[in-house]
Subunit: 276 residues, 2 copies
């Protein structure tokens, strides 16, 4: 573990750390915001998963989340979006390979050794965070776009592991999205049955825990169709009687200006679950 950045921020500290990720076979960076409360007590952790092309930097520099984490006493952990580096496979285009890990465990030969973001986010990163920072066992997860889907999918696959889950503008049904179809075909192969284990809309029917899904979606999001399709997840939740709050925000787009506008509400939502 090597500290790359450390900045005072809203009475706490925004840090960036580097470590060698054994699940991914490469060095990885993550952002951690330690609120002022973390100087004297253990705090619950909200994990954030970013969207295509992002690193750990986008959320920590643009979302304005530290203000609310300081208010509510939450640690924020912002993961990178894929393994990276010269020894890691990549592909043409921003939507596959480095910067586009989709938070799954790849099975196809080209990708299987490194592209295990699911194991990294679910197991390796929390173990590292819990070993190095003053955390309680209470965890929540959220994210944006590809990472919004990642948060939903990971929460649905891990009952009891997260106290709450939310998403901004998630790729809600990746098996029915050009981004998702391209990535799942590459990482998992042509067999669409294998995709269902990594698609929140496909998973919701079998979820063993009715953890409510909170989603904010911009009404003017340039990717709403054909990429995001929250109505497919809504139907799946209705059929499965899975609690979903899907809020369409008129006028908002896919950018961090949208996230910044509502991240305070999401952090308050997670704080209620994490401190409850």
């Amino acid at each position: 573990m090597q500290k790359i950045e450390s900045h005072a921020c809203f009475g706490g500290r925004q840090e960036v750390w580097s470590h060698t990720a054994t699940t991914l076979g490469c060095p990885m960076r993550f952002g951690v915001y330690l609120p002022p409360q973390a100087e004297r007590e253990d705090c619950p952790v909200l994990y954030w998963l970013s969207g295509l092309t992002c690193t750990e930097q986008n959320f920590i520099t643009k979302a304005g989340a530290q203000q609310y984490a300081a208010e509510h006493g939450l640690i924020l952990v912002a993961a990178d979006t894929s393994p990276r580096g010269e020894g890691v496979p990549d592909a043409e285009g921003y939507d596959l390979g480095q910067g586009a890990g989709f938070y799954l465990n790849a099975t196809r030969p080209k990708w299987a050794a490194n592209f295990r973001m699911y194991d990294y986010v679910v197991d390796e990163l929390p173990a590292l965070v819990d070993a190095h920072f003053p955390t309680t066992s209470a965890r929540a997860i959220s994210g944006h776009s590809m990472g919004g889907h990642g948060a939903l999918m990971i929460a649905l696959k891990n009952p009891g592991r997260y106290r709450s889950v939310s998403a901004f503008s998630p790729i809600a049904a990746p098996s029915h999205s050009p981004w998702g179809e391209k990535a799942f075909t590459a990482y998992l192969g042509e067999d669409r049955e294998a995709w269902k284990a990594w698609d929140a809309t496909a998973l919701v029917g079998g979820a063993r825990e009715k953890l409510p899904l909170l989603i904010d979606q911009g009404g003017e999001d340039e990717f709403l169709l054909p990429q995001l399709k929250p109505e497919l997840l809504r139907v799946a939740c209705e059929v499965a009687k899975h609690p979903l709050e899907l809020r369409i925000r008129p006028g908002y787009d896919h950018s961090y200006y949208f996230i910044a506008s509502y991240i305070g509400e999401h952090i308050a939502h997670h704080a209620r679950a994490l401190h409850g």
Copy 2:
């Protein structure tokens, strides 16, 4: 005037516009945040001047200021830091030429035709903003580092023009700072007497208006010495009996994490003056 970006943000809109700047002889971009109040009434304007290497993007993506502008009904205008483009002179290094205009009017032949950021910020940009957006005549000015100094210097040189002024981590006495000495020598020549017209610490003694200067400065700012030197401005204000509130914030550095932590207090300060 051409609209480059438009995003819903905290109930208002964050826009980026491009126009041909006659004072600078090149196309320029600026950010404008229109709070929700601007849909039904004219609003006062807070101008923001950024630091070395910045464009109009840094403040609008990283400071989190829109939240407070929406709360107080202020329009935010974020200028670029210099003229730009292939036809505009430049120099080696991030601290001279494009990205480093220092908000003055250059007199040396290489720079004099384009590097007139003072005229641009004081006259051309406000005229443009007032013609295109629902503004009142009430203006305030603020900024960071090179732009923090620019805000102080411009307010001191233009009594009555701004209702309030503030700065984060300003290059408080550029004539006594390596950054300032390099830029002033290039733009204004070797004669240090000519520099005094563009140096806030040199100007404060002759200011015809006792507009209070509000400054926040990080105590762990990596540029505090030898670049920023707020103690020189403090002494000048004491001698001139010019009101100054200089707040040293322990632990904070020079980054936007610092600005984000206190921009709410600055905007509240400007809102009191602008709505008063």
